[in-house]
């Protein structure tokens, strides 16, 4: 506590996210399915020594307010993710395929609900 301002944070260089250091508990990503039948949704992460305790920790950390009825956990280092620089080729091609959306088609009101 010698300096009135935070010192610069130089202790760390960017390291791969989620890779556990030797004596640390691994990081787990938590997915929870709520009451209403929607898919499991990523809600956050936590640390745990193994999968079983990760589920229990997730129950205690992420369902305190009745948020869920089912929990998935996966070790963060096991997740394969798309790369941001691939954003163009991965997602842009679907931009011009507007006919996939139901609103593309004009159905006369007389036909009724469709």
């Amino acid at each position: 506590m010698s300096s009135p301002e935070s010192g610069s944070y130089d202790a760390t260089e960017a390291a791969p996210h989620g890779k556990p250091r030797a004596i640390e508990w691994p990081l787990w990503e938590v997915f929870i399915r709520g009451q209403h039948g929607l898919s499991h949704r990523h809600v956050g992460s936590l640390h745990a020594a193994d999968a079983q305790s990760a589920i229990k920790n997730a129950r205690d950390v992420y369902t305190r307010r009745n948020e869920g009825v089912s929990i998935w956990v996966v070790e963060a280092s096991a997740i394969a993710a798309s790369r941001p620089e691939e954003k163009g080729p991965l997602y842009d091609p679907s931009n011009d395929k507007v006919y996939r959306h139901p609103t593309f088609f004009d159905i006369p009101d007389d036909v009724g609900a469709m």
């Binding site: 508990w25 640390h47 745990a48 020594a49 229990k56 920790n57 205690d60 950390v61 305190r64």
Partner: protein, 251 residues
């Protein structure tokens, strides 16, 4: 002796009150954040159960006392919790061991209470059992994990078991209150639950590579209220202080 039903409800409520208080003492200083949050959940469950049991006790007693009056305005000789739950937290291993030894009894006892002839008791038992089933799952994992962890964690868990095992027996003693309740089908005879408890302990401690002490010696005096440990008095001094210092205040 006062009404056995009132005695019984105080025993249930005081167990959860005193243990919930002990667990809440961990707030903010647990070994890891996830454990802090989990311990708080356990304490919250126990405080919630306390409210149910002690409100019902007050109702049965019929002197206008509610859960708060019973929790904050009785002195040590009126408390009916078993000695196990008032033992100090010690290290994290001791806290977990105390919790496991209690959870295992608590779950067996609540399971039996679900078929109580008293509908209110059966309802509280049913609600509590869900919570306690989870408590036991969690403490079972932790006791096994720490027992079968490093040399240090193993030794600490063995010490905790040696230190606390003499407080197990009291949970299974049967006295005149138990006899009266079990005759009316309100609550089980505690002694009848011991065999299944011992089976569970043998299984868990063998996975935890821990040795159950050979001596069956059991400290008694908590659930009868005849002789609590010195620890309880200090807890009450802290817990009840505001209510005692400002008796007219509403909080």
């Amino acid at each position: 002796m006062s009404d056995p039903l009132f005695e019984f409800l105080c025993r249930m409520g005081d167990n959860t009150l005193v243990l919930g208080h002990r667990v809440s003492e961990w707030c903010g200083v647990a070994p890891v954040l996830e454990e802090d949050i989990a311990l708080a959940n356990t304490a919250l469950d126990l405080i919630g159960q306390t409210t149910l049991w002690l409100n019902l006790a007050g109702e049965v007693e019929g002197k206008g006392r509610n859960a708060d009056a019973l929790a904050f305005r009785r002195d040590i000789w009126d408390f009916r919790n078993v000695l196990l739950v008032e033992q100090p937290n010690g290290d994290f291993g001791q806290t977990m061991m105390r919790q496991f030894l209690f959870d295992a009894w608590h779950k067996a006892y609540l399971t039996a209470l679900q078929s109580s002839s008293n509908a209110q008791i059966a309802a509280i038992a049913e609600k509590s059992l869900k919570e306690v089933t989870y408590h036991l799952e969690r403490t079972t994992d932790t006791v096994i994990g720490l027992g079968d962890g490093t040399d240090e964690s193993h030794d600490r868990m063995q010490n905790a078991l040696d230190r606390l095992y003499p407080y197990v027996g009291e949970m299974f003693t049967s006295d005149t209150v138990d006899a009266a309740l079990s005759a009316e089908g309100i609550a089980p005879d505690p002694a009848s639950l011991r065999p299944q408890y011992d089976t569970l302990l043998r299984d868990v401690f063998s996975q935890a590579t821990l040795t159950i002490p050979a001596s069956d010696f059991a400290h008694k005096g908590g659930k009868s209220g005849q002789r609590h440990s010195e620890h309880l008095g200090h807890m009450l001094a802290q817990m009840q202080w505001l209510q005692r210092a400002y008796p007219d205040a509403i909080w």
